[in-house]
Symmetry: C2
Subunit: 340 residues, 2 copies
DNA sequence: CTGAAAGCGCTAACAA
DNA sequence: TTGTTAGCGCTTTCAG
């Protein structure tokens, strides 16, 4: 069977306590015994068991990551960057896709609690506030990414959605679009993006048109429908800001399905800058979230929390950036004339 | 602190053994005590600790999933379906992206072994054969998906790559293409797909042209370069079979960058049927892997292995299907003439 | 600097 | 049907 600490101790002619000390390298051990023990450990291919260590109260070096859907490129990319940072730090991450379903959220969290994970990263869309509060009550470290629930006292990292919406809209405005619509999902992040959109419009002296603000579920299909709705209006927009890339792809498809061309007839800007923005045709102008940094950062935040290195909760905003590709341009004159 | 089995036992006025029995519901317990214990468990919000159970040799209900890259849509989709099936069965999955890097593969596996995972699912691209053999020697259940290494005695599930390549090529042939090229990565699965490609060509009386077979790393960029290489030949192909969707996207981009149009000037077919095939323009004709079923299936296979329910190793092939979208069509006459 | 021993929370004989 | 008890592999005082 697998070697245990006893085997090592016996072979090295020391006690298990000594072995334990060299493993965790604490306590004072003479260089000689340390070397000897280390050698035996190698010879026996000894691997300390996490389960046993966890039982004595040590960390498991495992965290739970709850995201809405691993198959969604945005979350997959986030997950990957979290995982990478985790591995650098020696922590494994178990991933759970919740589909924004409260039952699943609760079930997965309680499962992971039983498995003694050291903490949780909750990603955008986590809706079950009671579960979070419960975790907090149990003093289990939690960090949230790409979502914040202001009522919760939790470390939070997100992109500045307001600013992102503002940037997107200013870009469209700078292209001289006058009729700009927005499609958002029903979520706080979209609310903020839409606030930014409104602000940009007002600042430049435009009216905010409620007909130009539409909500949709976050999917290609949703984007398609929302775009159709917009384009069917008597005075359709010449530019559409979709609050994420998935929606934007749907919008592109709807526009093209009408025989219109992007960006000449309708300009489209997305949000997230996932791989989808680079594979669509035309390539999508979008607001980039610094996904990689976000993953790293949230992991670091959580680890600090786990190690008890800090007590103040933090709420951090990272700045999004405009990435111009080919889905936005000045409105063509004909469209302008025809519709104004 | 958290309630333990002792707390429950005390409150219920029974022994911990009894509690243990109702938890695992084995042994004979009177209905009355069972109910009582259950109630106390609920009252105390008692959650059995997995770490402790694992220590006594029970399963951890956690498995490790090693994939090349979680940010790659194909693997993200696979991971999601594995995760789903896992949750149905009560097992969590910890994911590790290896980047096909042997050191990472080894490091992650040994980490997870220490964490006493019940088994591993290894996905395509896992190159470190010694690690697998080591696992096998330790009697740790392993299952491989979308990849098979014939020398290894392991449960294996993959799509019939040979047939997939055949299907793709036959589709192109049925569209009356004469000059069909293929782009594959350096991997067994691509080898098989290319074999299918050759077979289809030969069966229909075409010559296999070595200049039409090119290898590339699996990425959009790689697809782009390979396509350029192909299109620069004196007698360029009218159709290209890319061995995965990522490559196919790159091919589309390269073709379009030359001012040619897909599918009129060049037809393109991919492989995998990931989300990318639906977001590109034109939407990609591709060979679909039954990703969802594969995830479910491989999980079931592994679980059976873990439960010792079967001793014979299996190698299963699922059949791929052609999904026709808009990236393939008959070669336009002008192209035919110009080039033949 | 090193070791003995008491748990951590649970399972699984074996008794009763 | 229920309880006693001996571990599982490791950490951690506390002595030596």
């Amino acid at each position: 069977m697998k070697a245990t600490i006893y085997d090592v101790a016996k072979n090295a002619g020391v006690s298990i306590a000594t072995v334990s000390k060299v493993i965790n390298n604490n306590g004072r051990i003479s260089d000689k015994t340390r070397k000897k023990v280390l050698k035996i450990m190698k010879d026996l291919d000894y691997q300390p068991s996490f389960a046993a260590a966890a039982l004595t109260g040590k960390r498991t070096n495992t965290i739970g990551l709850l995201i809405p859907d691993l198959a969604n490129p945005f979350f997959a990319e986030i997950a990957r960057s979290i995982e990478d940072r985790g591995h650098e730090l020696g922590v494994s991450v178990v991933m759970c896709s919740t589909d924004k379903n409260k039952e699943k959220e609760e079930k997965y969290v309680s499962l992971l609690v039983r498995k003694s994970v050291d903490g949780f990263i909750l990603a955008s869309g986590f809706s079950n506030v009671e579960v979070v509060e419960d975790l907090l009550k149990k003093k289990i470290p939690v960090a949230m990414i790409a979502q914040d629930v202001p009522t919760l006292l939790v470390d939070t990292l997100s992109v500045d959605d307001y600013k992102g919406g503002y940037l997107a809209t200013v870009h469209l405005l700078s292209l001289e679009h006058k009729r700009i619509a927005v499609i958002g999902e029903v979520a706080r992040s979209s609310d903020d993006r839409i606030r930014g959109y409104k602000e940009a419009l007002q600042q430049s002296g435009h009216l905010v048109h409620d007909d130009y603000i539409v909500r949709s579920e976050s999917s290609i299909e949703g984007g398609r429908k929302a775009a159709d709705h917009l384009l069917n209006q008597s005075n359709p927009p010449t530019a559409i800001f979709a609050c994420n890339d998935l929606l934007a792809i749907g919008v592109i498809q709807a526009v093209q399905a009408r025989g219109l061309v992007v960006p000449n007839d309708v300009s489209i800007i997305g949000f997230d800058n996932t791989i989808l923005a680079t594979t669509s045709d035309p390539a999508l102008t979008t607001i980039a979230q610094p996904i990689h940094e976000m993953g790293q950062f949230i992991m670091d935040l959580l680890i600090q929390e786990i190690e008890g290195k800090k007590t103040v909760k933090r709420r951090m905003l990272l700045l999004p950036e405009l990435v111009v590709r080919n889905s936005t341009a000045k409105p063509s004159v004909s469209v302008e004339k025809q519709l104004t």
